[in-house]
């Protein structure tokens, strides 16, 4: 597999969210706005790149029988770093994402890439794989966040998108359900269907 393919497969062909259906909890939980989706995606991407790097560096030292617990400890260390750094520098985003930051540990995408790719490949290609998958995950979360934010609060990254008629008070009449829990499921359902169509053609 060429480097370019390793990097780009995460976007459409093997997109972790739309095609592989991994990491769905944060995908549904934090995407009330595009900015939240982007923040969560980048946090996961960082953990993915760093854990892939470390796993591929020490893969020959880890006995085969305890490799899964070893991977989990490596991932959990980087998640703790992300948690503390975000709490210090972007406290508002950290409060919004809340529980889903420590839950990056159990995100199947991260453990899946460590087991399926980083434990068998060189350091450099593992990092590229982590970057590609991380950006694919970020792309999926930002896309779902953007759809929900446009339909549910008539905005994108906080900027007003006037697609709805205004009521007497001058505020837009939005489909509020899209920023609530059901909108996450319905939005993702339609996006998966569209992505299936795109990746097949």
């Amino acid at each position: 597999m060429s480097m370019k393919e390793t990097l780009t497969k995460g976007f459409f062909k093997e997109n972790p969210v739309f095609i592989l259906l991994l990491g769905l909890c944060p995908t549904l939980g934090v995407t009330t706005s595009a900015a939240n989706g982007l923040g969560m995606g980048l946090a996961t991407a960082f953990v993915l790149i760093m854990s892939n790097l470390v796993v591929s560096l020490i893969k020959s030292q880890i006995p085969d029988k305890v490799r899964i617990p070893a991977f989990i400890v490596i991932i959990a260390s980087f998640v703790t770093i992300v948690d503390l750094v975000m709490n210090a520098y972007v406290p508002a985003l950290h409060a919004q994402l809340g529980l889903f930051i420590p839950l990056i540990v159990v995100n199947c995408v991260v453990l899946g890439r460590a087991e399926a790719f980083a434990s068998k490949n060189t350091v450099f290609s593992s990092m590229i794989d982590g970057l590609g998958m991380g950006l694919g995950f970020t792309f999926a979360l930002t896309l779902l966040g953007a759809v929900r934010e446009i339909l549910g609060s008539s905005a994108l990254f906080g900027f007003n998108i006037p697609i709805y008629p205004l009521d007497e008070g001058g505020s837009p009449i939005t489909m509020i359900v899209f920023v609530l829990a059901p909108g996450a499921f319905i939005g993702l359902g339609y996006l998966i269907s569209i992505m299936n169509k795109i990746s097949k053609s």
């Binding site: 959990a76 420590p102 839950l103 359902g189």
Partner: protein, 190 residues
């Protein structure tokens, strides 16, 4: 009274799957048949309750006295992984029938974010040990309720005429969305 409030809030109002988005992977993955959904719910009930008790003790009697709260994520996930392995071994020896029923679901539970999620939520919510156990059991029941209802709907969905592009996973998500919409009706009862 307080305990009843915790139960109603966790099972219906803040349903762990449909309102808090934890445990989505098994919710989509093992909800094709009602039998497997019941087995999975039983396994989650068992592990979630045990995990909450153990992580509660770790947090308040080990991490806090030594000022090691930042190790919470690492220690909790290790404890849960070890616990699942241990439960598997003990069940195999003590109750082979129960192991037959729950066995295949146990390894899946380590990566079920609902278990770690509830352990952390119990700490964040400042529950007492009893309150935490009740909270964990109520959440597991809420998980089972959502999973079994969803499995029932999916069994019928197989017989339906669904547009080609929406077949399989996409229509399941739309159905889950409508189910979440129904559960929103419980908001405000407590």
């Amino acid at each position: 009274m307080e305990i009843l409030t915790i139960i109603i809030l966790a099972v219906f109002v803040n349903n762990i799957v449909l309102a808090q988005f934890l445990g989505i992977c098994p919710f989509i993955g093992v909800s094709k048949k009602i039998d497997t959904a019941i087995g999975m719910s039983g396994a989650v009930l068992f592990v979630m309750t045990l995990a909450t008790i153990v992580t509660y003790i770790i947090r308040y009697y080990v991490l806090e006295p030594f000022g090691l709260e930042f190790l919470q994520t690492i220690s909790f996930i290790l404890v849960i992984a070890a616990l699942v392995q241990m439960v598997e071994i003990i069940l195999k020896k003590v109750s082979p029938t129960l192991f037959q029923a729950l066995g295949i679901f146990l390894p899946l539970i380590t990566t079920n974010c609902a278990v770690l999620g509830v352990a952390i939520l119990t700490i964040n919510g400042n529950y007492s040990l009893i309150g935490g156990v009740v909270y964990a059991i109520a959440n597991a029941i809420g998980f089972g309720l959502a999973l079994i209802i969803f499995a029932g709907i999916r069994e019928h969905l197989d017989l339906m005429e669904v547009p080609k592009g929406m077949r399989g996973v996409p229509i399941s998500f739309i159905v889950a969305g409508i189910l979440a919409l129904a559960f929103m009706g419980f908001a405000g009862i407590v």
